[in-house]
Amino acid sequence: MKGKKAIILWISFLILSSISWATPAYLAEKSPYKIGVNLELTGPWAEVTKTVKRTMVMEVEKINAMGGVDGHPLDLVIEDNGFDLGRAAANMTKFARNKEIVAVVGPFEDNLQATTRAIAEREGITDIIICPSNPMVRGLKQRWSFNIAQNDIIVSQKLVDLCLARGYKKVLVFPGNWPLALSLAEYFKRFGEEKGIEVIISKETHKPTDIDMTPQLIKLKPVIESEKVDALYASTGGPPGPIICKNMRTLGIKIPIIGTHAFGFNFIIALGGEAMEGVEFGAGKPVVPYQLDKDDPVRPIVIDFDKRMRERYGMGADQIAGHAHDTIWLIYDALKRCHGKVTRAKFRDALENTKGLKSCHGIYNYSPTDHDGLAKRDMVFIRIQGQRFMRIKFPGFE
């Protein structure tokens, strides 16, 4: 008898708490717009995705405090996919089958996006992915999937500009062996050769899990010396970047290093230490919030965001936090343009028609042929100097 009572009490407590959780009392009059979030909250990128989650929660709270979207609050339904393809797919399907969910955000990793994109296409639900697209998924011309990070094409164009500005005539590329790193290398070669830069893509590659690149670099060293290469382009992301820099300096290779936008994180500098000095790359604007031009249209947004992040979580804005911020505001903007009649199809069309939306990373323009949003002008040149990111400017190249 006693046990039964306790169970009933528990159940009613759970029901009550879940109700109060789902609909804050002050917004109870209009139903919330639910957004599914499918993230790698555990696994190797747990610390990075934690930033994504925190940012999205903070921005959603801000929107809800402003009165939501035409009075409807936003509501995030967050699920962990554990960096696992199967669970990412299961989460995506679960969100797609839940009629209340308007759109899905995530996953965060390139390896998982092909699967969730396919599910989004089949089920007819918008999927906003936090990593860059790659040539393979772009080739599929999927209608329901959007990427919000700078893609390999504009990153490569930006780096070619960097080489032109620095006067590099011959660049050796040391790519990672995964699709995004390889396509960054290929585009760099294509755009570079159009501008008269000689690009050699090394046959030696590296894996994301390699902890020592010394053997590969020992093999590349004679090439660098005999070909008189001006700079080495580390087309990579994550820990391999600083490892390449460290190992190169250890081996006495002194040529400049250029990197991808994945170098724009503080933990990368911490890993590489002194070897990171002088590394240059193009990255998103949140890397250097206070060094943006005074007339930069997104400067106030980035600085405001950076301040709120520091106040609430004690950490500044970075590229990933910027992507999360932009995701929420893109959703907000698209929902607003649905004019109260929100369906999955309407939301997709509205998102695709996003024009000139200013957010942390720059100005977003989506169109039926462009689901990547950002352009080359939304990136800045960065140099690592004194263990900090310094913005560098070149006349004629921004």
């Binding site: 555990t42 053997p215 890993l271």
Partner: protein, 296 residues
Amino acid sequence: MTPWAYIPQLISAGITIGAIYALVGLGFVTIARASQIINFAQGEFVMLGGVITFFLLKRGGLPYPLAALVAVISVVIIGFLLHILVVYPLRKASIPILLMATLGASIFLSSTSGLTFGTLPKALPPFSGNQSLQIGGIFIVPQSLWVLGATFLLLVFLYLLSHRTLLGKAMEASSTDPLGADLLGISRNLMVFLAFGVSAGMGAIAGILITPIFYTSYNAGTMLGLKGFIAAVLGGWGKNSGAILGGFVLGAVESLSVAFIPSGYKDAVAFVILLLILYFRPKGILGSPYIDSRRW
């Protein structure tokens, strides 16, 4: 340019990582000799050594040597706990069950480390400067010399422990003849307990030594553990000298292989070597006291 030109530099890179494989391999052998258990959490000791030092140095603000010392002591305690909580309760179970238990402990340790210390990769500052030394066209980081020096000292320590002390001899005895050891009043459980401590300490020191050169993260232990295991099998399972030789051979071969085949296969080389050894010379280079050569 022929591949031969960069062989000296490759060998010097291989010897550094080889020293670490040797230390991990020795950790396996120390426990295996005392109890016949293959402790698959060995790689996690290496990871924890690096991660805990990093944590104490950056967050705790301790000076480097003290942080390293505290890290080694904590990992030794973790090693003891691993024995008390996982291995000792299963002492009557068969070897495969113990093996699975240590595998589970390894997953537990790496996940706990990810939760407590974060999942982002971490690197320690080098002990003495970044400027690499140039010796006859070969570039060597000072840290490599630290690795080699410390490995040598550990080997001497281990040699003295097992050949010159009563404790070492008791450990030796309980592995070669369990019944005899029992009859002489040697507590085998105590010996295994101590073996876990010694091998955890060695792993932690290896972790602190390499984290300045490479980096460490919560999931780095698995690969290092496997490589160390391969080193121990390659040299001759159950022999200290075998693990040391196996470590250096594996490191050098792995590094050298890059000169001749694409570097993407670098990790595979170790496993190919393991397969070849198991096919053609299962007792390893120096022979193994546990594998009777007549059966093969």
